[in-house]
């Protein structure tokens, strides 16, 4: 039985009984000592890894102190922090731990982390009200609640010490897991105060630290989750092993909305290692002794599909419909000044930008392990929406929620794909037919061809420039509403708040402004959130168009933007820094160019300069990206830099290669050979410059994805004089073989 996973920085206090090592065996403790030097981290010998509650340890830690949902102090002085958000590479476990431990004044070397159970009330993201990790919202939404949670417990401990020592609370301070009374020289560890502290109520508004007193926040501390990710020990959902485990893989109808008509399984059944064929409404699974048997079995099936109503859909149909919709008037997301008057002042420029479907292609393919019995259901999965995972398993099994246990493992790439629970839905359906636990793993082909896709978008813009300033600006966004499906109550008055994000709140000074949204659902293609979400399409369109306006006005793109950013000094500062660090304006060789893009997205202010070179065949080499970032107070600067480096590469991948197309109702791409990823040999030098700020933290995980495509597009124009208004870039247009569409 696999229990709760736990990450720990505890040193020798772990106890010898913890140090067992049986790779691959579920339930094995994977803790190791002395794995890494502390380096930048606080504390000396760090131990990081999964730890299981053990009988001996449990006895020693009897009646721990758990005054709120986030903090548990054991009697041995160890502090366990409960993680409301999931770790998928963005470093949130470490950031959340730093925030909690900062205000608690915990000894960071004795802190361990534990994933929260499904519970929307206790662990729901304050912005969404449900347990969801997404929209670069973890630090932003939890910043104050977590600080208050830490400070509240610290206040209780001071109160307990004040009672014990009979001194005023104001004469007591805390440091590194201890309560200290300087006047008398008395000090005691938090654990010694547990009995007195039980039942004390934290103040409603506990005093928070002055940021100048932060000891952890702002430091580039080492991540908790890294050590077991470099030695193969970390268990992702796909790595779960259980006694008697069977392995399954599946094929869904290649046309969305189609169903199974008939399956001939004679050949598959005869293959060694194939145990069972499970035929369900719209997919077929093969269960075997291992993935190889399951895959062989699936390949041997003869399946006849009823392809349903979308069997003839092609990308051309999707675009025809989207373009037609984009010519209709939309719901008004923002209206300021007099748009008719504004668009009549000066020369009018109009442009349309188009973005393709995109798959997520997380490196860990979709998977889910399930054990269904008549009385209960147990699920092992890595998911961004824990409570929804539990709910779908309850729905499919017909069991009450409390009979469904979900073990949320670390995620091998989320990017929005794991905001959906379709892989759990399917796995539980299969598991209901299987005796014992079954691990369902999708092939990469299935993963690419049965995603929920970043929607196609068409952004149409019209604007006028008068005396170097924008007089009128009209922006219409046309595309699928993911919000309407995913969070229906948030879809109000025809406006998808995600689709218009970063467009309605454009940072430029524009007196006459209108932003509209037209909902257009592509026929037969499911859509979903994709890293960078709404700001991706809007910032690409806006920053490309601003560049076009600057060029049309014969102004330098940096100068032009500078003149429009009077109301956004934080963004202007980022613009200046990126321009300076990139040596904006200095000479470059022929067919090379620099492009700039700025954005306010996810609460962060970012300017990005890309430097590119285009060869005569239209092949693009990105040499360098310089990024200046004001993301408010930075919790872990190394994580912020890492997220931007990675996000920029994610965004470049999309702009250079990303495209999912449809023919006969089917996704045409299937694997990394035809759905390409940027590789190390194509990766530019990347510089990230952080701007110091005392503002509340912004989000960061998605910002780089949003930043890269417009900076790239503008650099390509600087290099070639060719404006690309469609993504991904078309090399035939850049080479002059084809005209821009």
């Amino acid at each position: 039985m696999l229990h709760k996973s736990e990450f720990s920085r505890r040193g020798p206090a772990m106890g010898a009984a913890d140090v067992r090592d049986r790779p691959g065996e579920a339930g094995a403790s994977l803790t190791r000592r002395g794995l890494l030097e502390a380096g930048m981290a606080v504390g000396a010998a760090l131990v990081v890894g999964f730890r299981l509650p053990l009988a001996g340890a449990a006895a020693a830690a009897k009646t721990p102190f758990a005054p709120n949902g986030f903090i548990r102090i054991d009697r041995d002085g160890n502090v366990t922090l409960i993680m409301p958000q999931v770790e998928m590479g963005q470093g949130i476990y470490t950031a959340v731990a730093m925030i909690l431990a900062e205000e608690l004044d915990a000894d960071f070397a004795r802190v361990a982390l534990e994933a929260a159970p499904p519970d929307d009330k206790l662990y729901g993201n304050p912005v969404f009200g449900i347990q969801v990790t997404g929209n670069s919202n973890s630090v932003r939404a939890f910043w104050l609640p977590l600080r208050k949670a830490g400070a509240g417990v610290r206040a209780i401990l001071i109160q307990a010490a004040s009672q014990q020592w009979k001194v005023e609370p104001s004469a007591i301070r805390t440091d590194n897991g201890e309560v200290i009374h300087d006047a008398s020289g008395r000090r005691t560890g938090y654990a010694a105060l547990i009995d007195r502290a039980q039942g004390l109520v934290p103040p409603k508004d506990p005093p928070l630290k002055d940021p100048k007193d932060f000891k952890l926040i702002g430091k580039p501390l080492k991540r908790f989750d890294t050590p077991d990710k470099v030695n193969g020990k970390l268990k992702y959902g796909i790595d779960v092993m259980l006694p008697g485990l069977k392995f399954a893989t599946l094929a869904a109808c290649p046309v969305f909305g189609g169903t199974v008509e008939h399956v001939n399984d004679t050949k598959a059944k005869s293959l060694p290692g194939v145990r069972q064929i499970v035929v369900l409404g719209d997919f077929v699974a093969v269960v075997g002794d291992h993935m190889w048997a399951a895959k062989q079995g699936l390949a041997a099936l003869d399946i006849t599909w009823d392809e349903g109503p979308h069997a003839a859909v092609s990308s051309a149909d999707v675009w025809k419909q989207l373009r037609a919709s984009s010519n209709t008037e939309g719901a008004v997301a923002k209206s300021e000044g007099d748009i008719a008057k504004g668009l009549a002042e000066g020369d009018l420029l109009e442009a349309a930008y188009e973005m393709p479907f995109l798959a997520h292609a997380t490196m860990e393919p979709m998977n889910c392990t399930v054990h269904v019995t008549p009385a209960a259901c147990e699920v092992w999965v890595g998911i961004q929406v824990l409570s929804r995972a539990q709910a779908i398993a309850a729905k499919v099994t017909g069991l009450p929620l409390e009979k469904v246990t979900v073990h949320n493992l670390l995620i091998g790439g989320g990017f929005g794909r794991r905001l959906e629970v379709d892989m759990i839905d399917k796995a539980v359906q299969i598991a209901k037919q299987v005796e014992g636990p079954v691990k369902v793993v999708w092939t990469r082909e299935e993963d690419i061809q049965h995603d929920v896709y970043r929607p196609v978008y068409r952004d149409t813009l019209s604007a006028t420039v008068s005396n170097g300033r924008i007089a009128g600006w009209k922006h219409r966004i046309t595309g699928s509403s993911i919000i309407a499906r995913w969070l229906p109550p948030a879809f109000q008055k025809g406006i998808d708040i995600d689709a218009i994000d970063s467009a309605a709140d454009i940072p430029y000074d524009i007196p006459n402004l209108r932003v509209e949204y037209v909902r257009d659902e592509p026929p037969g293609v499911p859509t979903g959130f994709w890293r960078g979400v709404g700001p991706n399409n809007n910032v690409f369109a806006i920053e490309s168009f601003i560049d076009e306006l600057a060029r049309k006005s014969n102004k330098d793109p940096v100068d032009f933007r500078r003149g429009l950013l009077g109301k956004s000094p934080r963004l202007e500062a980022a613009l200046e820094l990126a321009a300076a660090k990139s040596a904006w304006g200095s000479p470059l060789p022929a067919r090379a160019g620099r492009g700039i893009a700025v954005q306010v997205a996810f609460g962060s202010f970012i300017a990005t300069v890309a430097e590119v070179e285009v060869d005569p065949h239209g092949e693009v080499r990105v040499h360098r990206i310089v990024c200046a970032v004001d993301t408010g107070i930075v919790v872990n600067p190394d994580t912020v830099a890492a997220q931007l480096q990675g996000g920029l590469i994610f965004g470049l991948t999309a702009a250079l290669y990303g495209k999912i197309t449809i023919a006969k109702g089917r996704v045409q791409q299937s694997n990394f050979n035809d759905y390409r990823m940027l590789r190390i040999n194509e990766t530019p030098r990347i510089e990230v410059h952080l701007i110091e700020s005392g503002e509340a933290p912004g989000g960061i995980g998605e910002t780089g994805v949003t930043a890269a495509p417009p900076a790239l597009g503008n650099a390509l124009f600087a290099a070639t004089g060719i404006r690309l208004r469609r993504l991904p870039i078309d090399r035939d247009v850049l080479s002059g073989k084809k005209l821009p569409s």
Binding site: G232, F247, F672, I680
Partner: protein, 150 residues
């Protein structure tokens, strides 16, 4: 039964000879550090060493391995180069989601064994077969250079 030498241990497995080594490691032996990414040798997540050379285990029939030594991410730290690479990965905080990193580390270790002081072009050639969706390439390059100087 197929006999395999994995991380200096002899393991016997009941597997058909055409079964890729990846699934033998993961599903039969429980060595889940080696990852499934694409199944067609495009992403490198499943990289292991066979007699020290980096090989994509998702396409390597187990019956073709014979007596050659297999090293996986679980065992690579026992070699000086492997330990140096893992340490560099920690010091430069390379990892994000981490799913591809087993394969990255196996490829990087093989590179350092073949070219102790790699240039950028050596790194490009040795590492271009390993995809990282989180985009940790900038740090992978730095970490390989760091490891080569230890």
């Amino acid at each position: 039964m197929v006999s395999l030498r994995i991380n200096d241990e002899v393991r016997s497995v009941d597997a058909p000879p055409d079964m890729p080594l990846l699934w033998v490691l993961r599903d039969i032996l429980g060595l889940t550090g080696t990852k499934f990414g694409c199944g067609i040798a495009q992403c490198g997540a499943c990289t292991v060493h066979v007699d020290g050379a980096p090989v994509r285990s998702c396409l390597l029939p187990v019956g073709s391995v014979g007596n050659r030594a297999i090293t996986t991410i679980e065992g690579v730290g026992a070699s000086p180069a492997g330990a140096k690479v893992q340490q560099a990965w920690l010091e430069l905080e390379v990892v994000q989601c981490g799913y591809c990193q087993s394969g990255q580390i196996m490829s990087a270790t093989a590179l350092l064994n073949a070219v102790p002081h790699p240039e950028d072009s050596d790194i490009d050639a040795a590492m271009a077969g390993n995809i990282c969706r989180c985009g940790t390439y900038v740090r992978i390059r730095e970490a390989i250079k760091h490891a080569s100087q230890v």
